[in-house]
Symmetry: C2
Subunit: 457 residues, 2 copies
Amino acid sequence: MRKLEQQHLEAFFEFLSIPSISTLSRYKGEVAKAAEWLMKRMKHVGLENIQRFETPLHPIIYADFLHAPGQPTVLIYGHYDVQPAEDVHFWTTPPFSPTLRDGRIYARGSSDMKGNLFSCLLALESLIQIKQLNVNIKCIFEGEEEISSPSLTAFVQEHKELLACDVSLNCDGSMAGEHQPVIGLSARGSLMLELTVQAANQDLHSGSWGGQVPNPLHVLSKLIASFHDNSGRIAVPGFYDEVYELNEPEKAEVRVTPFDEKKELEQLGLNSFFGETGYSARERIATRPTLEVNGLWGGYTGEDAMTVIPSKAYAKISCRLVQHQDPHKITQLVKDHIAKHLPAYVTFDVKELEAPAYPYVMSAQHPINQLLANVLKRSYGTEPSFEREGGTVPVLALLQQELGVDSVSLGFSLPDEQIHAPNEFMRVSSLGRASEVYAAFIRTLGSTSLFKTSRDS
Amino acid sequence: MRKLEQQHLEAFFEFLSIPSISTLSRYKGEVAKAAEWLMKRMKHVGLENIQRFETPLHPIIYADFLHAPGQPTVLIYGHYDVQPAEDVHFWTTPPFSPTLRDGRIYARGSSDMKGNLFSCLLALESLIQIKQLNVNIKCIFEGEEEISSPSLTAFVQEHKELLACDVSLNCDGSMAGEHQPVIGLSARGSLMLELTVQAANQDLHSGSWGGQVPNPLHVLSKLIASFHDNSGRIAVPGFYDEVYELNEPEKAEVRVTPFDEKKELEQLGLNSFFGETGYSARERIATRPTLEVNGLWGGYTGEDAMTVIPSKAYAKISCRLVQHQDPHKITQLVKDHIAKHLPAYVTFDVKELEAPAYPYVMSAQHPINQLLANVLKRSYGTEPSFEREGGTVPVLALLQQELGVDSVSLGFSLPDEQIHAPNEFMRVSSLGRASEVYAAFIRTLGSTSLFKTSRDS
């Protein structure tokens, strides 16, 4: 494995120290700063035609290296924005002061996905340096993935020629373990709503009013209770209508890494998993949709007690969607359910928080996945797993819909690396390995004849 | 009506500007400051034997004026602590910068109940000055009423001799309108709990885990939904077992101020009231218990979305209890219900937030209430209403249990004065009127022969 040089680590720490939180508007300047940093880095790598495209929110960065006529064009996708890290008191070291401890780099965004992005650029740098870049490269790095890529659709639609390619390489992927590579076959779609339920127009004293006026916290709790039946199945009418049930060959092609359920439960401090009955825990993640309340609040939440009947109660609700579910249609079904279940003595408002994302699926049998499998097997000495994954990567369905290309996913985030949580980290060893595997896969894409027909036609 | 002098207003503003918030520990010093202020004021009034008693939380202030041998002793109760006012952005002027606007004094605690306390001291001041104080007075002012008076029980038990009296005057009362006096016949008891529900030991990403792990927000919502049936009745087994149903004479003695339901709903921005069926809105406040969630929170509550499955979810729960309900017994019933309804795949913790308070009831026919009715009728030219009230005043049941005395309630807070809410205010006119009525009632207590027997025996 190539040893990571000190200067690379320093550059990576610089990147990690920029709090490019796309979710919170007060970080807009920081997201822009990360974009600037990335453009400088791309120049350093040797990429050309570096451009910054403004969007209503955060910039999209493009660069290319088109010096392999007749060879395939690979569109590399990544994102430079990160999740919020407001819960700083849970972090051992501050989320944007990258810290090396025990071979791990602790920082928000290290594992998701500045590490992958940085490694992929290292790979391109070395291929360009040694003049071994045998494909045409186009890079598109966005700053809005953590908020569901709201600007990406319009951008891709307006720049089809610029982005034209044979295949897309999505760097926002993960592994099952340090020595167990994974090829992701799917990403779930998503939608995100914020619901406000209002009873009286003011907070009221529960002594003077309790028993007489509606309590929006009770109403909202009852509504949330109506989202699932007791078996964990979503009770929104029509929710499962388009859900695709995998056939036997499709189930067979999913080669999930065996996992120790008992150990996993122990690590999570749980005595059992919970979810829709009739499916294993892994099947639920891979092939079943969800409806989750991600945030819930209202009334007095401070120290001790304050006997208020609040005016308003709030919930943030998201769904993960699977093959054949249309996020726009499901949004409407959830809205209908809310409207039907809330009593007439409250008012409510539903806001769509982020652009809905379509689910994406790619067969394990796809020749590019088979190529990737060979590369991974050579590098790790292990057959990669083929997994359907539960996360959302909006770009995958988008590139398929708009550019007609498949996206192969390759990334090095590990399950224990606390992504979206306090104390996120990435292993230093993953960085070096990642750049090596990215380089090997890109070279393999340059050696295949897979794309001949499409490019010649 | 006596015109309030400028110097009185200035002194009152000084009192109001001390943020004596008992709920929040960081205000401990401010609560103590208000106690000090009060002791100085009592000295100014001419009260004697002024003492400060330390408690585990906030000081209890005592003073007396015992120069009417053979006459009744009246124990005057009040509290100098106030509710929190964390929602400063909802206040037109800051909660602890008392502001006079349109004949109203805006400040946290103005109506609940620094205004009553201040007026009662004005009344004592004038009676002492003109040598017309024909009863013995003992004052006990606490700084923990808004947190359910946790230190008061032990204090009263340990100072029975000091507090010995013929009757207690509770100044923490209210009126139905500017020209409609009210005699409060009851106070509801209370209990306050904080519930924490925990699923995994860490926040998890809903893409990687959604569908597989329990979501404590769903679990907590389902539990809260189980607290009431669809008719608004509390579904905790045994909750109503000891609830006393008023007989016809008792119902008849309640002379509720007629109110315009339509107008009240309009002011609250509601299209209907809601509560236990089979009882009118006013009956529910007066004679029925409640179980309310006063605060609910968990997960991501910031801007936009973050697709987290939180580790923990929290609820603050309180009950208002009525005649014959034992707060300790009801606490246990609620805890049992929680334990029974939460699924085995989560853990939970229930914390008792404040000392439980017993309910209190005093008949409208009680001779002291009849005396008070005459005083109010003379002052307002209107028959007072007799109302069973929904709030909690822990001292009432306590003095009955420990000292064997009844507490008559007289206070001047008005229903629109936003107590426990932003922009709390008290009318300037109420202050002058209040001191006049307090003085008249105290003098009346000195002229009655009601207490002869008990004192002579």
